[in-house]
Amino acid sequence: MSTDKKEREPMFSAKNVKLLTSPLNLNNPITVQVLGICSALAVTAKLKPAIVMTLSVMIVTGVSNFVVSLLRNGIPPRIRIIVQLVVVATLVILVDQLLKAFLFDVSKQLSVFVGLIITNCIIMGRLEAFAMSNKPWPAFLDGIGNGLGYGLILITVAFFRELFGSGTLFDIQIVPQSLYNMGYVNNGLMILPPMALITVGVIIWVQRYYNRSLIEK
């Protein structure tokens, strides 16, 4: 291969670190690339499932990016989607079995959404856009970075929904009992699915207000 002649760049060169950090804000998979909303919103009523979901997605994006990038020269372009789906589906089955074995209650809460990681647009999008044309290590970092960016939004949304919807964080009561005695009531609307969409809408609003370059014409 021609790439062998080049000097080896360090594992965490500036370019590679950028791969890891740019999805956190300016290239965020949810608010900027608008990928992977499907599973992002349904699991954010509580913090715990949101964090488990983040870890699962991060592992699957990272490893699938790595594997597909290793295979990229051997995959015929016509059947690449099927090959990618098989790689991703295998990883998701592994994650699903692990969750069922060690975190059964969370796995029940996530129900079909673990399986839906397969069709999570972030994974397919990154495989198509990055892993098919880059070397394994940068592809792995890109996958982890996008998983982190996805998780950042998920955890922010889950934080607000759990705090205002149930008055708890990680199922520990945060809003003091004295406030309830004074007549404070949890906002039941925050638990309902539509509020997740509105919360993400507001996050996008705040983000674009501070990053004018992202505003759509």
């Binding site: 099927i82 589906a89 839906l116 699915p193 969409l197």
Partner: protein, 205 residues
């Protein structure tokens, strides 16, 4: 018969794929800029859901479920292949989408030119895999019920994408705050529509 109709109506309005479960949001947000294209994609989704859910139901019932292989031989009663369901379902979906694309291209070129570009997108639409996974989780009793669920979810998705596309066509003339333009306002609108759709909760025929 009554039960089948009930499932159909329920999966359109109450358990709407978009407003209750956020499935298929990626293509929902990306393709809802004009009504014409959203009608095309919506029709393709109804079509594919109506085919893949019954097929996956049969596979689940006769191969994947714990003890489902008993029809083959009594010694398979303890075999549980349900861990394979993700990979089998996605393979069926990818294969069916490819097949549908070829059949439509052969027999109806006019339909192909209007649907064609959307069909490959559908293989990775979460709503399709979600339909099969919900079918498995809710444990429908007959093939008819599973088909009604598949078609109903498709129609619900169709309704949602056509409605948001119509709103987005109009909102172009409104004075939206700059930072909210485009995707931001679409999220908030979908949320409001979801709240409106919640008024259907509890409908039972």
């Amino acid at each position: 018969m009554h039960e089948i109709f009930n499932i159909f109506i329920k999966s359109i309005f109450v358990d709407n794929m978009i407003f209750a479960y956020f499935l298929g949001m990626c293509s929902y947000l990306a393709v809802s800029k004009t009504v014409d294209t959203s009608v095309g994609l919506g029709a393709a989704v109804i079509f594919v859901l109506g085919i893949t859910v019954p097929i996956n139901y049969l596979l689940n019932e006769y191969i994947l479920k714990p003890g489902a292989m008993v029809w083959l031989d009594a010694q398979f009663a303890s075999v549980d292949l349900s861990f394979l369901s993700f990979i089998i379902f996605i393979a069926v979906i990818a294969a069916m989408v490819q097949l549908v694309e070829m059949v439509v291209e052969k027999f109806s070129p006019s339909l192909y030119s209007s649907l064609g570009i959307f069909l490959p997108l559908i293989a990775v639409n979460c709503a399709i895999l979600g339909g099969s996974l919900f079918m498995q989780e809710r444990d429908y009793q007959t093939l008819g019920q599973a088909t009604a669920f598949g078609l109903g979810s498709g129609v619900g998705w169709f309704l949602a994408i056509v409605a948001i596309a119509a709103i987005r066509e109009k909102i172009r003339y409104s004075n939206v705050p700059p930072a909210l333009r485009g995707i931001g306002i679409t999220f908030i609108l979908t949320g409001l529509m979801g709240i409106a759709f919640m008024s259907f909760l509890g409908i039972k025929l």
